[in-house]
Symmetry: none
Subunit: 212 residues, 4 copies
Amino acid sequence: MSAATKATITRADSALTPKGERRAAEILDATVRCLARDGYSATSIQAVADEAGLHKRVVLYYYGSREGLFDRVVRHLGDELFDELERELGALDDPEEIVGRGYERLWKVVTRDRPLVISWFALRAESVTNPTLASTARYVTDRFRALVSGLIDQALGRGRTLRIARGSLEVLILAGFQGLILEYLERGDTPQLRTAIDDFQIWLASVSEPPS
Amino acid sequence: MSAATKATITRADSALTPKGERRAAEILDATVRCLARDGYSATSIQAVADEAGLHKRVVLYYYGSREGLFDRVVRHLGDELFDELERELGALDDPEEIVGRGYERLWKVVTRDRPLVISWFALRAESVTNPTLASTARYVTDRFRALVSGLIDQALGRGRTLRIARGSLEVLILAGFQGLILEYLERGDTPQLRTAIDDFQIWLASVSEPPS
Amino acid sequence: MSAATKATITRADSALTPKGERRAAEILDATVRCLARDGYSATSIQAVADEAGLHKRVVLYYYGSREGLFDRVVRHLGDELFDELERELGALDDPEEIVGRGYERLWKVVTRDRPLVISWFALRAESVTNPTLASTARYVTDRFRALVSGLIDQALGRGRTLRIARGSLEVLILAGFQGLILEYLERGDTPQLRTAIDDFQIWLASVSEPPS
Amino acid sequence: MSAATKATITRADSALTPKGERRAAEILDATVRCLARDGYSATSIQAVADEAGLHKRVVLYYYGSREGLFDRVVRHLGDELFDELERELGALDDPEEIVGRGYERLWKVVTRDRPLVISWFALRAESVTNPTLASTARYVTDRFRALVSGLIDQALGRGRTLRIARGSLEVLILAGFQGLILEYLERGDTPQLRTAIDDFQIWLASVSEPPS
DNA sequence: CATGAATGAGCGTTCATTCAT
DNA sequence: TATGAATGAACGCTCATTCAT
């Protein structure tokens, strides 16, 4: 949070002409493509500019700095993802459904756009050691955490009870999800992975019990 | 030029004098410290040299290239980790023990050296988009996979039967482990994480049943 | 990355401020001086920058790469030379004159600026083994070939007939010229060389006959 | 001459074990291959070592320095070429034959080994601006000059008389030869080139007349 | 005799960024 | 507002060579 507010206000924040708006969006897309293809360290301002077909200087003009660009990219990625997820999962009313279908939908949404996942993960990984990215990456995991937490609340609100500690469940869902994403990134969408996701979901269903 | 030979055969491969041996090891350690502290992209040859108190040129002399250095670091890290793990887990005879204690020991070994874990993860993440690191990172995950597979074989050999598909189990163990590692790297060794590990282990125990 | 674009489009191509124009030209001149004095392999970007009294980075700013710089130098040299040659030779109307004076004028123009000749030859020689320079060097020899070919056409147009095959004549003129240039570079402007040029010209005059 | 005698005596000069002899020869061959393929500036000691499958240090051990290596290579190339040429041309007794067949044989010998020609030319070109190579390259052109001069003497001795100045003839033969070599290197063995060589030879024959 | 160890200097290039208009 | 000009610092890497055994 702090770093985000601290960050100098970039051109892309303030009012832009339609052309500027379009350019800023193009740059964002180009950055995601670069991150997905080349990873964090190889995604230089020059590389983004080349990818977008613009002069390096233009990228800087719209986002102030490399750090600023990545910050915007991450938030853009996270918002896009979680807005859709909340829409998808919000439509599930039945608690059984949430447990039964929730994870599957989550997975579906996430894996629909591989470059997006790779980009997110590249920044996520870099944030472990790069303090300038830490708060940025945190924004996404926090939204994720909130989503998971909200789903658990929803289940509890419907009268379901947990068989394991709530904190532990949250951690396991997050860890399981991120671990499976890693597996997906390394090996792709293998049959074993799909079965594993099903089994994970079965475990998820068994971890809470319906109201007696 | 024979790029292939140059890329793979480094000074550190061939016979070294004791002093050379020592230096090569020092460089390796310095690299791990840099990776853990600064991440992949910030770990330049210069940074490693500074950390080791040597001239940049010496690092290159021993490892040929940045890529070559990282390759060696990953293998060094992996071997160190898995040699110990195999020793630890090989000592467990009782199948109940393997299931009950295995994961705990795995975790203990891995988290003993945080810099080492961060380093491994930094390279692991980079390998997603960096083809020159892919095969290198694969070396470690393959050893991990083999270890897990071996443990499952051992359990099966003792007459235990699996309640889920074998491939799915392997994936879940790997994904769970890597996901928990990520959680550990982001939040540290929280109580929730410890409980989650316990719960993961309980699930692991429940996933196979003893011979009737 | 679009290496192709980066390799060909340099700052010096697009519109430059007068100051930029001046600097780009200064760098070109400095490069020719370096090439003439030190040869291809010793003409580093640093050396050019020193010669021009600029920072190494400025040279790169204007020409993108060492290769790009040499490419521009060759074309600059070739254009300067052949524009003048075409002007000089275009002024000769009488076919007798062309044969009689053509080679002399060619020689005069070429040898007026020794550094320029050395530079051209240094790049010419390097292009034999350096594929990145091949097309560049070809640009000049092609202009030369076109010039020679045009002169032959002119002579034929006036009704002269050739005593040897046209292709052979072209080759001999080019080879003779380049060979004499080499001699000039190695030994300087010796009396033997001057006599040889005269004899070459006599042969040239005898190789075609006037309309009966 | 001076530089050659000045040059520190390399290992390859003094007595060598058979193995050493073999190695020194291998290095020489590897150098020619490198020069022919990559040119002067790209032929580093490292490149030669890689090509020969030896350690860089070994190359230096046998030839003392890069300069020393090239010096030996040039002399080796020149000797190989001219020894054979002198043998070939020495066998021609009839003055008519010398004029008629001489140039053809010269050409045949030279173009038999393209890498050798490229190597020679690469060093020849570099020597224009590189003083450390000047005397070395001179060794070959001097042998060439002597060969040409000897042939002229032979013709004169048989009573033939020259229609142009002797110095001019020498220059034209050398220049013609080197120019045709350049053409050969740039365009290969084209029909036009072959015809040009024939025409050059016809001119050569016409430049002297038999004893009356 | 032969080779591993080591090195200082320099290479071409890219980095993110600031200046100036 | 938007962009060319310019830049200092650092990048990974190769150079020819010397030291030491």
